[in-house]
């Protein structure tokens, strides 16, 4: 499954990059993630509950941040396993400053599904992924706003 999308934020790239590297923030803003625990430099253990189309499941596995080029890009490597099947994804995230105060975040990657997850309702999954990424962007936007309103 191809994952692709982008969103414009009212924040500089380095601020967004920093936020995305913070496990606590990431756990807060990623839909379905209930636990995100750093297990090493740029590696995390993640637990998520996600409803994907007709199937839902409790996923657990690893996240890894690779090919870090602060503040321009990084690659998120995801391996999540569940009783209903496994997800493996490599997603490249690019941060492009469109002005001094705005940044376009775009992601492009591929997710590979297996088991029941692959077999059932896969054709609705791109829609689900779309919704999840929108939720993620919205949450990130809110985090950035909160940060802006915090006293320096």
């Amino acid at each position: 499954m191809h994952l692709k999308g982008s969103h414009q934020f009212n924040a500089p790239a380095h601020q967004i990059f920093k936020m995305l590297m913070d496990a606590d923030t990431l756990a807060r803003i990623t839909p379905g993630v209930s636990e995100l625990e750093a297990t090493g430099q740029d590696t995390y253990k993640a637990i998520a509950n996600v409803k994907m189309g007709p199937v839902s499941g409790s996923f657990s596995g690893n996240l890894e941040v690779a090919e870090k080029h602060e503040p321009e890009s990084f690659v998120l490597k995801i391996q999540q396993n569940s009783k209903i099947g496994n997800v493996a994804a490599d997603v490249k995230i690019d941060l492009e400053e469109t002005s001094s105060e705005t940044t376009r975040l775009s992601f492009d990657g591929k997710a590979r599904l297996s088991g029941l997850l692959a077999r059932t309702g896969q054709r609705v999954l791109s829609g689900v992924a779309n919704t999840l990424s929108k939720q993620f962007f919205k949450a990130l936007e809110e985090e950035l706003e909160n940060l802006a309103h915090q006293p320096a």
């Binding site: 099947g85 493996a88 297996s114 029941l116 692959a118 077999r119 059932t120 309702g121 896969q122 054709r123």
Partner: protein, 789 residues
């Protein structure tokens, strides 16, 4: 009234089926029974580095967990295949082992790796979730063509380029190439005959029962083929004594081929029961059925047909890559070869034919016989070529066929027709079926309507398909020479009880075909007794002497003929007893209406009295044994060859690409008909299935070998409102070589209908000048995209 042949008798089995009183494998509950859940690979191709069952073993209700390693260590064999097809150079086909559970690596998504046995189904399933498997994913290949390319992932190390065999039939390729060079026109098509999921209403199930006190084994299973399953189970897989093994296939809710084969789960349940000394049941859920029932079709073909200036066919050249899946299922090697290549003569006098088939392993579930098995693939290829050629040469598709048909022959006065591809057709009048279909369509009138509709911008189309199939499978000596590892005769035993009631034991298995009615009609008619006095018994290896099961539209042609042979023996013996009782000579007797009568007198004795005499032989002819019970093996002299002409009329929605099937006309010749209502039902069901392939169905694997439409949310089945009221008729050309003159009707509808629908859509799209072929299923999206291209 005892004249039953040709009568539309209502099915005697319907009472139990329609009131929910059928008894299926999963309905059987045995004392002390355990439940099995099979842990399957979520990956199409992956190494198993480690399996940790420790947590699962501690779960509530868990009795035992076995893995592929336990199976390997027990030293049993894997699942065999029943047919051998060799490479062109004479090398034996590649036949890699197919273990009951894999220990080293999984080769398709759904390959079994462990079995959890627990006190309840739910506990087994919950525990299965707690098994930790360390998988190492490997690159996978799902397409038969890609699998043969250099560098493709290898499903089995011992099969280079994933080739199981390559095989050729017909005239030498040079002769065909030469004929092609002389052709005025060559029509070429390249297409996929897509993979379909059998979708029987009842999913597969198996119960293994080993009784320590007697040393006896019983397998209850959803099989079309209980005796063959027993033979494979005993002689090839487990090495257990055949005389202590009973295989029961009770009511079975549809098979369509997918329940012919001996599956790993059947042997596994017996193996587990023997170890645990308790019965063990496994029942497939629907999701499991999608990924583990043997699928059908999946051919990638290039087909070329050469014509002379007048439209006479000169030659046919076919190259097919047949997907066999990850392992060889029971009939897998035979389907794309001897059931496909041999049918490429079709109904035409094509003088030169060469067919070349490569059987290929892929990381997908096994592919095997599915309603029609090879013959629909051959028919699709020929009939798409015919309609496309007619379009390209600007000829009428019906005229082109009539011009090329084999002339009529009855197989009695005129000899059978020897094809270029090994078969000898038994009898046929091919012009008659197409002419009758054209009459039913009102062909000339339709073409005028179509022209009018086109003026109004409506996309109306007509598609033709004529087919022939080889049924009544099969003469043992012939198929033995072709690589079959079993004879394909049938057994029929007729036991007349002392009261004159009749029990019939047949090796054919009924799972929706209505044998309990049709076979009873044959028996009641021949013996002149009421239908209610006949009971048909099948599906239990302890009751029925032997059998080869139901597939290849063989039950009546082969199984029915075996019963007729036994009936002849009953009547012959009855005549001796009757002659004694009537104090007449046998030659002076005639048998009709259920009694023996001394010709020209009113002296007679009824069948029931003769039966009673046979069991109470106080006053009895000398040298005649008591009792009335005969068993016969019938090995057919040839295949039977049903044929027909199907016509589809469709309207394609210009804006959405949706195809509406407006009319479907089918004229079939299945030889003599015993029960026209059952034959009609078989034709209807077959048509729905064939139309389903044309418009709706198709298993889709992604490039990682994941089946991505393995549920009814994702896989489209035809529904009643997708189909018109079928217009069907028959011609009758009896089979000259079996006593009933029958040819078989179970698969006909599924063989002829698919290309007729596709041809109709292509005809409807003609105003767009579309030359490129459309791939099945013709979903609205595909049709719409073609209209836009």
């Amino acid at each position: 009234m005892t004249n039953y042949i040709g009568k539309a008798v209502k099915r005697v089995e319907d009472k139990r089926f329609l009131t929910g009183k059928g008894r299926y494998t999963d309905d059987i509950v045995l004392p002390g029974m355990l439940y099995a859940y099979i842990v399957r690979s979520p990956y199409a191709h992956a190494k198993i580095n480690n399996i940790d069952t420790s947590r699962a073993e501690k779960m509530d209700g868990v009795v035992k967990i076995y893995t592929g390693k336990d199976i390997a260590e027990s030293g049993i064999n894997g699942i065999p295949t029943g047919w051998q097809v060799n490479f062109k150079n004479g090398d034996t086909m590649k036949e890699p082992p197919h273990p009951l559970l894999v220990a080293d690596k999984a080769r398709y998504m759904g390959d079994g790796v462990a079995v959890v046995i627990a006190e309840s189904r739910e506990e087994a399933r919950d525990a299965a979730d707690e098994i930790d498997i360390d998988w190492e994913e490997l690159p996978a290949v799902a397409s038969a063509k890609k699998a043969t390319e250099d560098g493709a992932p290898l499903v089995h190390d011992e099969a280079p380029n994933n080739k199981c065999f390559d095989w050729e039939l017909g005239n030498p390729k040079e002769e065909v190439d030469k004929a092609m060079k002389q052709a005025h026109h060559i029509t070429t098509l390249e297409f996929t005959n897509q993979r379909v999921v059998p979708n029987a209403m009842e999913t597969r199930a198996a119960i293994g029962q080993y009784e320590e006190a007697t040393g006896k084994y019983t397998l209850y299973t959803t099989s079309q083929n209980p005796h063959l399953t027993r033979l494979l189970l005993c002689a090839f897989v487990l090495g257990i004594p055949e005389h202590r093994v009973r295989v029961v296939a009770p009511d079975v809710g549809g098979g369509f081929g997918s329940k012919i084969f001996h599956y790993a789960e059947e042997a596994l349940m017996i193996w587990c029961s023997e170890r645990l000394k308790r019965p063990v049941k496994w029942t497939s859920d629907r999701s499991e059925a999608f990924m583990t029932d043997a699928h059908g079709r999946d051919h990638i073909s290039k087909a070329e047909m050469g014509f002379d200036k007048e439209g006479n066919v000169l030659a046919l050249r076919v190259k097919t890559h047949a997907n066999l899946g990850a392992y060889l299922s029971t009939f897998a090697p035979c389907v794309p070869t001897w059931l496909h290549g041999t049918l490429l003569q079709g109904l035409y006098v094509t003088p030169k034919i060469n067919v070349d088939v490569t059987g290929v392993f892929t990381n997908t579930v096994m592919v095997d016989a599915y309603r029609g098995a090879g013959r629909p693939e051959a028919t699709y290829l020929l009939e798409r070529l015919m309609d496309t050629a007619a379009l390209e040469m600007d000829m009428d598709p019906a005229e082109l066929r009539l011009k090329n048909f084999i002339p009529p022959f009855d197989g009695v006065e005129q000899p059978g027709y020897q094809t270029q591809v090994a078969l000898q057709y038994d009898s046929g009048n091919y012009h008659a079926v197409l002419k009758r279909a054209l009459e039913m369509v009102g062909y000339e009138k339709f073409r005028k309507e179509q022209a009018e509709a086109r003026k109004e911008g409506k996309l109306l189309g007509i598609g033709f398909s004529t087919y022939i199939e080889a049924c009544g499978i099969a003469p043992s000596a012939v198929v033995g020479a072709l690589g079959a590892r079993a004879g394909l005769y049938e057994v029929g035993q007729v036991r007349v009880q002392p009261t004159g009631k009749v029990s019939v034991f047949t090796g054919a298995h009924s799972h929706g075909q209505g044998h309990e009615t049709t076979f009873a009609q044959v028996v009641a008619d021949r013996l002149g007794i009421p239908l209610d006095d006949v009971e048909i018994i099948h599906g239990d290896s302890d009751s029925v002497a032997f059998g080869m099961g139901t597939y290849g539209s063989r039950s009546l042609a082969v199984g029915g003929s075996a019963i007729v042979k036994s009936l002849d023996k009953i009547i012959e013996k009855g005549a001796k007893i009757a002659a004694h009782k009537l104090e007449a000579s046998e030659e002076d007797l005639e048998f009709a209406e259920g009694k023996w009568t001394v010709k020209g007198t009113d002296k007679s004795i009824a069948f029931g009295d003769v039966a009673l005499t046979a069991y109470v032989p106080h006053d009895y002819p000398e040298g005649v044994e008591p009792g009335m019970d005969f068993s016969s093996f019938y090995d057919p002299a040839n295949f039977t060859y049903p044929y027909g002409a199907h016509v589809a009329i469709v309207e394609v929605d210009k804006d959405t690409g949706h195809t509406k099937l407006k009319r479907f006309i089918a004229v079939d010749d299945v030889g003599n008909v015993i029960n026209p209502m059952i034959v009609d039902g078989q034709i209807h069901g077959g048509l729905a299935q064939g139309i389903g392939q044309a418009l709706f169905e198709g298993a889709m694997y992604d490039e990682d070998g994941q089946l991505i439409n393995g549920s009814y949310m994702d896989y489209t089945m035809p529904r009643a409102d997708d189909l018109p009221s079928f217009e069907i008729d028959r011609t009758v050309t009896p089979c000259p070589h079996n006593p009933l003159g029958v040819k078989g009707a179970g698969e006909a509808g599924c063989i002829g209908s698919t290309p007729a629908v596709v041809n109709a859509v292509m005809d409807a799209l003609r105003p767009f000048g579309i030359k490129k072929d459309l791939e099945m299923p013709l979903t609205p999206e595909r049709v719409w995209r073609h209209m836009q291209s």
